[in-house]
């Protein structure tokens, strides 16, 4: 709880730290003053240690929660798919069909080419992002506090507040965009699209710069939009949670605020999942489209 920490700054920092597992180099002075004699694989304590671990470390909490939520989604949908009949649908099948019809309509509305992969991709993106965002509605202290008592020093339960997760998604989508751009238009056609418009051909460096920035902006904006929204939402939950450490009046006020923000957040998490999915579809549609 917030009152267990030396300062509210400590509390916030602790809540924003992932459970990172990586290798610390030899000679590194750890948080408790211990100087490492040899390179050591361990859990990072504090931002400096995460920094020192470099790229080849992994956010265990993000991976576990994202894989768990994705598996949960696939488990229920697979269970419904296995028993899917054309007859009167049962409760689960009804729900799954409702989601699938919704996704299918979105794909039909935004994607005007033939590709059997786009609709399942959109479904996965939507449900996965939605479930990851949904973790935000759990009160910020519950799971990390319980995990702390079990000996886990850090835990961030909302994977979409980890930029690694959102960039992992958006860069995968970007790879597909590049793949289909080259596949549908050929390498030359794709280059022509980047270099020979919107200005006349002799200005191709300008074109290349403009279109290049536009292209790179796609995955970055896609990832940052989701990350920013969820991170900001999480931050506000943390700030509200700080109030619980104050007087009971402040705590009561905080409780009301948390409830109100959570209700509002239901909209945000759904909207962000929908936006991520729609933009994925739109980017893939643009990758398929032939420019003349």
């Amino acid at each position: 709880m917030a009152s267990d920490y030396a300062s509210s700054g400590e509390y916030i920092k602790h809540h924003l730290q992932n459970l990172t597992y990586g290798q610390l180099p030899a000679g590194f002075e750890r948080h408790d003053g211990e100087v490492l004699a040899a390179p050591t694989w361990t859990i990072a304590h504090g931002a400096e240690e995460v920094q020192a671990m470099g790229f080849w470390s992994i956010n265990v909490d993000s991976m576990l929660f994202s894989i768990g939520l994705g598996a949960l989604f696939l488990y229920f949908f697979y269970a419904a798919a296995k028993k899917a009949t054309a007859g009167v649908p049962s409760g689960l099948q009804n729900f799954v069909e409702w989601v699938i019809e919704f996704i299918d309509n979105s794909v039909r509305g935004s994607f005007s080419h033939r590709n059997a992969m786009v609709a399942p991709l959109a479904l996965t993106v939507f449900m996965w992002v939605f479930l990851m965002n949904l973790m935000d509605l759990l009160p910020v202290d519950w799971v990390p506090y319980a995990a702390g008592m079990a000996g886990v020093p850090y835990l961030k339960i909302v994977p979409s507040t980890d930029p690694n997760v959102t960039f992992g998604l958006s860069l995968s989508v970007f790879a597909l965009v590049l793949y289909y751009s080259v596949k549908m238009k050929g390498a030359g056609g794709f280059f022509a699209e980047l270099a020979f418009q919107p200005f006349p051909k002799f200005l191709f460096p300008v074109n290349l710069l403009l279109e290049g920035v536009g292209l790179i902006a796609k995955p970055i904006s896609l990832a940052l939009r989701l990350f920013g929204n969820m991170y900001a939402g999480e931050m506000i939950f943390i700030l509200i949670a700080l109030m619980f450490g104050g007087s009971w009046i402040l705590g009561l006020f905080g409780g009301v605020l948390q409830w109100a923000w959570a209700v509002f957040h239901i909209l945000i998490i759904t909207l962000q999942a929908f936006i991520f999915m729609t933009l994925t579809i739109v980017y893939l549609d643009m990758a398929h489209a032939e420019h003349h």
């Binding site: 992932n18 990172t20 990586g22 995460v50 920094q51 671990m53 470099g54 790229f55 080849w56 470390s57 992994i58 956010n59 993000s62 991976m63 994202s66 894989i67 994705g70 989604f73 696939l74 949908f77 697979y78 419904a80 798919a81 296995k82 899917a84 009949t85 054309a86 007859g87 649908p89 099948q93 799954v96 069909e97 699938i100 019809e101 299918d104 059997a116 992969m117 609709a119 399942p120 991709l121 479904l123 996965t124 996965w128 980890d162 930029p163 690694n164 997760v165 960039f167 992992g168 998604l169 860069l171 995968s172």
Partner: protein, 156 residues
């Protein structure tokens, strides 16, 4: 923001999830939806056809009913005509029978009358003879006066 290998792990997980969804989740459900759509469309078409057939059948039934009514009316008409005819015939027969019986009765009456008249005549003749006998106070030989007697009889 610290980027680390989570980025790669997330991408790999994403690819696996999309592959799984594309392979095992999406097709069966979309197929089921498509099959149900087709079933509903078939059902509606069948209902439409049924409605048409019903209309056709009811029209046919109406036709049959009208035919039957016309036939019944014709049969009734014929029967009435026949009944009238039978009555007429019966009346005719009765009248003829009556006439015949009347004629026979009249014949009988005439016969009886004649017979009675004959008997009367005989008796009158006998009475006349007896009267004459009494008047003459003598026996009249019936044989000799037979001519006379029969002449008298004829005159009576």
């Amino acid at each position: 923001m610290n980027f680390n290998a989570t980025l790669i792990g997330q991408s790999i997980t994403f690819v696996i999830f999309v592959w799984f969804c594309m392979k095992f989740v999406w097709p069966p459900i979309v197929n089921a939806l498509e099959a149900r759509r087709k079933q509903i469309a078939d059902g509606l078409a069948m209902a439409d056809r049924g409605r048409n057939e019903l209309e056709l059948a009811s029209r046919k039934a109406g036709d049959h009913l009208r035919d039957a009514k016309a036939q019944a009316a014709e049969v009734i008409g014929q029967a009435e005509k026949r009944a009238a005819q039978i009555i007429e015939e019966a009346k005719q027969a009765a009248r003829e029978e009556g006439d015949r019986q009347l004629a026979a009765a009249q014949g009988n009456i005439v016969q009886e009358t004649n017979r009675a008249r004959e008997a009367l005549r005989e008796q009158v003749a006998a009475l006349a003879v007896a009267g004459a006998e009494k008047i003459l106070r003598r026996e009249v030989d019936a044989k000799t006066h037979a001519d006379l007697l029969s002449q008298l009889k004829a005159e009576l």
